[in-house]
Symmetry: D2
Subunit: 482 residues, 4 copies
Amino acid sequence: MLTTNPFDDDKLREECGVFGLWGAANAASFVALGLHALQHRGQEAAGITSFDGGQFHSHRALGQVAGNFGDDDVISKLPGGSAIGHVRYSTAGGAGIRNAQPLFAELNDGGFALAQNGNLSNAMKLRRTLSRRGSIFQSTSDTEVIIHLVATSHETTSVDRLVDALKQVEGAYSLLVLTEQGLIACRDPLGIRPLVMGKLGEATIFASETVALDVIGASYVRDVEPGEMLVVNASGLRSFRPFEAANPRPCIFEHVYFSRPDSIVDGTSVYQVRKNIGAELAIESPVEADLVVPVPDSGVPAALGFSNQSNIPFELGIIRSHYIGRTFIQPNQEVRNLGVKLKHNANRSLIDGKRVVLIDDSIVRGTTSLKIVQMMRDAGAREVHMRIASPPTTHSCFYGVDTPERAKLLAAQMSVEQMRDYINADSLAFISIEGLYRALGDARNSNDPQRCDACFTGDYPTTLTDQGQGPAGRGLSLVASR
Amino acid sequence: MLTTNPFDDDKLREECGVFGLWGAANAASFVALGLHALQHRGQEAAGITSFDGGQFHSHRALGQVAGNFGDDDVISKLPGGSAIGHVRYSTAGGAGIRNAQPLFAELNDGGFALAQNGNLSNAMKLRRTLSRRGSIFQSTSDTEVIIHLVATSHETTSVDRLVDALKQVEGAYSLLVLTEQGLIACRDPLGIRPLVMGKLGEATIFASETVALDVIGASYVRDVEPGEMLVVNASGLRSFRPFEAANPRPCIFEHVYFSRPDSIVDGTSVYQVRKNIGAELAIESPVEADLVVPVPDSGVPAALGFSNQSNIPFELGIIRSHYIGRTFIQPNQEVRNLGVKLKHNANRSLIDGKRVVLIDDSIVRGTTSLKIVQMMRDAGAREVHMRIASPPTTHSCFYGVDTPERAKLLAAQMSVEQMRDYINADSLAFISIEGLYRALGDARNSNDPQRCDACFTGDYPTTLTDQGQGPAGRGLSLVASR
Amino acid sequence: MLTTNPFDDDKLREECGVFGLWGAANAASFVALGLHALQHRGQEAAGITSFDGGQFHSHRALGQVAGNFGDDDVISKLPGGSAIGHVRYSTAGGAGIRNAQPLFAELNDGGFALAQNGNLSNAMKLRRTLSRRGSIFQSTSDTEVIIHLVATSHETTSVDRLVDALKQVEGAYSLLVLTEQGLIACRDPLGIRPLVMGKLGEATIFASETVALDVIGASYVRDVEPGEMLVVNASGLRSFRPFEAANPRPCIFEHVYFSRPDSIVDGTSVYQVRKNIGAELAIESPVEADLVVPVPDSGVPAALGFSNQSNIPFELGIIRSHYIGRTFIQPNQEVRNLGVKLKHNANRSLIDGKRVVLIDDSIVRGTTSLKIVQMMRDAGAREVHMRIASPPTTHSCFYGVDTPERAKLLAAQMSVEQMRDYINADSLAFISIEGLYRALGDARNSNDPQRCDACFTGDYPTTLTDQGQGPAGRGLSLVASR
Amino acid sequence: MLTTNPFDDDKLREECGVFGLWGAANAASFVALGLHALQHRGQEAAGITSFDGGQFHSHRALGQVAGNFGDDDVISKLPGGSAIGHVRYSTAGGAGIRNAQPLFAELNDGGFALAQNGNLSNAMKLRRTLSRRGSIFQSTSDTEVIIHLVATSHETTSVDRLVDALKQVEGAYSLLVLTEQGLIACRDPLGIRPLVMGKLGEATIFASETVALDVIGASYVRDVEPGEMLVVNASGLRSFRPFEAANPRPCIFEHVYFSRPDSIVDGTSVYQVRKNIGAELAIESPVEADLVVPVPDSGVPAALGFSNQSNIPFELGIIRSHYIGRTFIQPNQEVRNLGVKLKHNANRSLIDGKRVVLIDDSIVRGTTSLKIVQMMRDAGAREVHMRIASPPTTHSCFYGVDTPERAKLLAAQMSVEQMRDYINADSLAFISIEGLYRALGDARNSNDPQRCDACFTGDYPTTLTDQGQGPAGRGLSLVASR
């Protein structure tokens, strides 16, 4: 199978995006566009639930947003002035419409729809307990654990039930909840996954990234803060802090790769951070070369930063096909080896005879890097130097990112020199973890890092209950002290 | 309707691409990949016809290549060592599977399959004559005129019938023909549309652009020359020159926009030409500014050229969505105005407070330019200067490019100053026709231009018989003198 | 909309059919065929759950059995030696895949899949209680009430939990349950809906009707008795009687219309009973005429019985189209009135000038009867006498049959003479309730009827809790005394 | 593969049906219903062409009428007051949309749409000639030969061109042609395939069978006569006789099986003829038995005739599923043998211990007869006697009926006794050819039969040019003498 799937690259994958709006007619039509702008965070399923003042309406479907929610017929069956939506990238085994969100339950004080970005680290344990008490699970998603905790809570209002439920969970969650009493947004105390608030006229909006505000012409107000719960309804907007305070640990990989370059994450431009990373890389690991070539599209800003710092010209030495997400299943053995060329093509007349610096955002398994280096050599490159805009990815993520098991992470198995040899580059360098923090304008506090950087350091901010692990290492004990 | 269709921009559109291969097992599987690489030349229908030594096999379908030919099931029903394929952009009224190619006829000496890139300027006249004699037309395509001329020819071999037919037509054609006697490639005497030859092991390949050779790992041999007919079969490759000689006039717009930047057209790198155009623009129409921002994706090489020449930094001030070709039909009036944002988003933190030079390849109706300038202003740009990498588009094309009627071409109705005012830019400049030739390494011979540049100059290289026009103007009389 | 839907006639509709098998490789492939033979009991959704000794596999889909389960690909994803299946006719508002069965829950002692034929009369009340305790409902089906009662039961084994749950429900249920401990079949104490047991080699089968045994070549063993629970697994077959004994009240309408004529229901041939009804009708309400004409296809056996008894020749005076289940939505007003003709056509040369006795099984709203009488008159019939093979349908059913509300039942609003006038027949007669019992070989015990005949008599065998009714009328108090 | 396809029985198959209407608004909406009523004559493809006074509109599709033409959207794209339609059963190798009709050509005096029921016996020869002259064939259908003969005719009007073309063809055709000058209906000089004329208000209708008139409430006027051409337009209805006169030979199998029982064919009720055949069978081949059982559904009228004549009771001993046209592809070997039971089920309680007379309309390959006899024995039948309502089928048809090659016709290979042994019946009898004519009210003229009965006698009414045969046998020389 040859594929041009943009997420079939050798990348870590964000698993979800959420978008909600309170206070505009046809709320669902805005949510559809917002989800489309968040499509890079999950393209296997999408769903929207709206509330029209009397009833909840819901549509969830496998496939992309535009295919499922681009049609007036669908949107007009989701009436009402408030709505929440979700896009999902399903991990292996977890596909299927039953795992699509928002989830819905009929509670004592009315309907309750829930959409989550993130992953719990004690979901399995909670699930076993709930199941034993008679809760019937329809899906394998963590989010259903939260909704059963809400349904079986002895609190009376939706908000109190939600707080009761969330106090029992560990891990990452950026949640949107639609009830008859209003729209609720909530981010876990560590703030691992992002969540921002916006405004369009009188309407209040919550979204995973600011690009989803841009697409509907809304303005960015501020981030939902770690540990904050916001409720918006006809009485206005109220903010709560129902959880114990903790030092925030927002995911650093949002800046490296997940978020769109035109998003503002944690108040900082993703594009600018990536350019800074490129400049830091050029300082930390300079090289003599003729061209700086980005691996498209995510490598472009770092390549511009590298080029500016090094004064080596930036050129589009690899052209990416517009026709992404296409698949060819081919009978022809010869043809089967052409996979990478469906998506990328060397700009041969530019590369031939040159010393090339390739800039990519990360190396996960190393399979794509190997092919890209070879593509450069086939196009006549004299030397190929690889520079990576993140530190070596050595640990799996358990907070809502699809990572291969550790054994498949190239950097968990090999030294940098072994990796260079494996991908057949003339040189290979990663930015240091300190350099990465510098690009963000910080100095990393190694006792209590300002970000979740566990994929690079193993310093997990929560107990990994479902991994059968107690607290281990400094980061974990720090969290345990909360 | 909101759409992210890549060809819904305000662009001229190439109408077709062709790809053929002789001499490799499972030829159709290569053709499918080649057509995929040519998808930017036509994405509304695709077709492949193969020959297995005994029988012809054909599949044509509306929609994109990967959706229709990405499946082993389909490819395995197209067996054989030779095959030709076609992608089509259907002009208004001409959609429908009946216009998809290759077309096929059973002739005296066996099957005859035909795929054409280009348009005839006397097709309607020939069609009326053929119809009167009893030929039954199945489609509205020019290509069916050629196949009926072949079927009713009194010559005996397929090659002789084809030559007989082509001597009666005027206009642009780059043809591939599959017969039991071999694969035929032919380019009209003016060479208006491109056609290249490649080699993969023992197999001979013909394609509209070199990127289609790259995708299957084939090497580029040379262009099929204007007026040349090539026949490849078990006896080898033969070249004929069946037509009167003429001064070639290859389409200049292939370099401006149609061809992929990683293609070599007429022996020249499209990417390099576009960078040269950007540099010429910076010389012809300099401006003081803080950033050079390409309108993605086609404006990028010219923007790099402009930036290098002007020393104004190149930045990705507009981010393009990966999810192209999506459509939203929305009930919401407010939402309907958000069209352009589905595809493009301003990188606000970069633009705010800056003087921006926008680089785009062309202005056709001006509708998109208007929105992009406004998007820059909404993002806080202090000044917006537009630079266009082609001369004003003042005339329609009749040679296989989908152009609006003249009345809808902005440059046919307005002066440059009027256009600047219409799109609301602080300044607007187009490259001159002479500058464009310079970027190609030529000095334009205004008596007998080296390219077809009729869309910028009105200097058509053939009689426009179906337009009810005799030869008119200098360009046409020049051609008449051939 | 014109339609040839077989269930769009003016008929009562059975809502479900079930089929289960334990003890043969590829159990699901037999279940698919069994469900196909039960398709007349529900054609809007179908589902199968199999157990392969380790895991449960499930597929449910809207639409007919053959379309969804006719494909090897689907069946091969339902491996294992035991499986249960369900076909459903969805009542208004209750369509959608979420109401398709079997339902599934993961219990303490393993998976639990449930398929039900029948309806509970206290489902709403139980649902409210369960919801208050934190059970989250996914569907609107009665069956989900049972599965939540099972999940929240404090008993430990699946069988004990099921008994605990069923002791809380009222109404009609013929259930199949698939667990890791075996296949369970259970029929409510009144035995309202049918359930039979069969044998194919070593395999044990349960099905709603014997035709589903015939289709796979299985033999009929006996009926599952009212109030009986059967468990089949590797240890063999065990029978339980977990409920208080009650006088059985099997549904009499199974013989009148629901069951296929080639089924054996309650040990009696449906075909023979229908012939007997026809003969009784001829005795109770004789008429002078030239032809006995069945309304196809369900009226045929009664018409044969009437013809034999009366010596009036049986003729196919109405021909039914083979192309059932087809729909035409037509712009043409004239055409819209032709609905009934799409399905039925008068055999004009036979009818013209004759006195016709039409035999139909029932009159519900009377709309079809009106059209059929008119069709006979249009074809030239001199007289049209209607004889109905059931008593007037005066009451709604709450036990798993889709009945219009009482206000729409013709016989609840009109006398027989008024009905005759309404359908414009020369005479109209229904069989008496006593005649119907005679055709079944019984004399009706009016104090404690041997069947559920509530739709003809209003004598409901259970309390109608969800109808807001306490026991009322003789039938109900009798039940109350149980 | 198990199937309930109604035409998967061991039957000869009619290949086509046609329906046309001139003179009512929304003509296509009537044509769709008429084609639905003719669906038994061809269910693999359907098409309609309408004319709105200015333009022709056409839609052809694979699949059944209701699926393709049941939708207002489709019908509203076929505007106009005249339209013709076609249903097709595709013979092996001839499927595909290209063979669907009506076919269309643009002639000198305007559009020309053609729909044909029947087959030519010299189509291949004509095709070769036309192809040599430059006609390009799009399909493999005989009908395209006619349309190319029309297109290349030197006559000037559509009617004259059509007559010119038809004078060159041999074989069976019942044609409908839609032109700007009116609707043309034409039947070949032998009148092999049927064609009737009807009236609905001011509109004139032509159809293959009278049931298609019934469905839209039209009245039957008369048959189109063999050799007659009718033209209807605003000037009224005109009849021509452009061909040499011949003794008509309408197909006798229309009465035996093809036509619906409620049709009037050649002025005679099909139902009555089939009852007569049953009575003749009872006289020619009586048997002592307990029950007469029809093989559903086509055997029913003959069984009623047999029962009336013999005084043996008629009973529905075989029940046919309503869910026809369904397919199961099954992994299970055991299950694969259950094919026939998906469609037919023995009414076991009726059959057990009885002597059964089975009545079927024909035996072609004998495969179904074998299974039905076995089904009766499995259900406990004491004796099984088979009576067939047609003579032995010994010859293939070349006039528009799908017949197996002769080698596969059971009666061409075996004596009646051998056939009885093969199907394992206690006795087997066919009606004689003379008895069949008697049932039609004729005495067969063996020198010049009044019907085409070639499938029973080999007496073909035309030269079989494409079979490489000259005239042979009496029947053929008679025709040759025309």
